[in-house]
Symmetry: C2
Subunit: 196 residues, 2 copies
DNA sequence: TTAATAAAATTAACAATGTTAAATATTTTA
DNA sequence: TAAAATATTTAACATTGTTAATTTTATTAA
């Protein structure tokens, strides 16, 4: 990277960080051109020197949040024994990340992707994210003949759909109405799909 | 209802119908105060004499779409033999309704419910909708000892979550990318949960 | 080093949308 | 039919996204 590119990327990061902070605290409803730019320390129009539009900026945050989520999961599951119980722990941590930051769930799953340009890559990135998180452990299970290849594929798909649905209803529609009931539903799904 | 109330409800319905039409054709992005009012044949400010705000109006449409969806499902499944195969047909028709009207899926599952007033009832209405649709057939299965009560409860919950998740990814993130692959995923879920 | 040029940032302005207030038109009632 | 109540519309304002014109800052060539 040239000197100019480094400086340019630095300023881009000011805007990205500002957007991340707002997404984590207030969610998407708090993100707008003026709020982001002010937090980044620039005028609202400056944003357009570095990003196509505000949606562009918002979706750039996806990858960063995925990395953060991945690190959080690793910190939460480092001590688990490999195999089924670790897979369960990974999904539990994944869920707990989104419960902690509902705005990030909203961004990942609910926000419209109108920008025709970088649309498919981000979609694919989000869709395959849970699979990537549990990839290593499922491979371990296959190697140790705990699951077949076909079982693994079905399990990954089922868990992704069930957990996304569960989070959607809980975070967006407050169904179930209590956190306790939500947790029970999570436990039921994980235990039935991954019995000890 | 008094004469005045009848006339008032009639005008409310003009706005509701206008909103329904826009939701079905253009989706939520096409719904705004001026577009709805113009289609209803009134000035934009008149809307506020009949509805608290535009979100109020939009969520009033939920019940109507549920009725329409219910009728569509009935027309599609009237000839099915009762039991498991009819349950599958019901969920297939349910899915096909939302594939036909992605804007209605968006309204049901993705739209924010900020109006603090009538919020919980609508959430509950949406959450329990798939259960209500299949209620009769699941009762038939219980009576004929095809499923136990506990199995029924788990099945209803699993199907609701899996199908909502599937529709979310397909309609909102275009994952899977082809309709054929989506249909295959639907078939896989239904056949595994409700084997012949 | 400084004047000319290029680049970056800001302010002004406009469009779209939601909403409210003031003004106008219509209907009801005495 | 005139006064009062009701309904509707136009005007106006706030918010947000975006672009254009202007100003400020940085770079470069003499």
């Amino acid at each position: 990277m040239s000197r100019k590119e480094i400086q340019e990327q630095r300023i881009r990061n000011y805007f990205i960080d500002a957007t991340r902070e707002i997404l984590k605290s207030e969610g998407l409803k708090g993100v707008n051109v003026r709020a982001v730019s002010e937090r980044a320390g620039y005028s609202y129009a400056t944003l357009y020197n570095y990003f196509k539009d505000i949606k562009d900026l918002v979706f750039i945050c996806v990858r960063g949040f995925q990395e953060e989520c991945e690190q959080y999961i690793e910190s939460q599951t480092a001590a688990c024994v490999p195999g089924k119980s670790k897979i369960k722990a990974i999904y539990r941590a994944y869920i707990s990340y989104f419960v902690q930051y509902p705005g990030i769930f909203e961004l990942f799953f609910l926000e419209q992707m109108n920008s025709i340009g970088g649309k498919q890559p981000t979609s694919e990135l989000i869709y395959s994210f849970p699979d990537r998180l549990s990839e290593k452990e499922f491979m371990y299970c296959e190697e140790n003949l705990i699951f077949t290849r076909a079982e693994t594929e079905i399990l990954k798909s089922d868990l992704k759909l069930a957990i996304t649905g569960l989070l959607l209803f809980y975070l967006h529609r407050q169904q179930p109405t209590s956190f306790a009931a939500f947790n029970e539903a999570v436990g039921s799904i994980l235990d039935r799909h991954l019995p000890d």
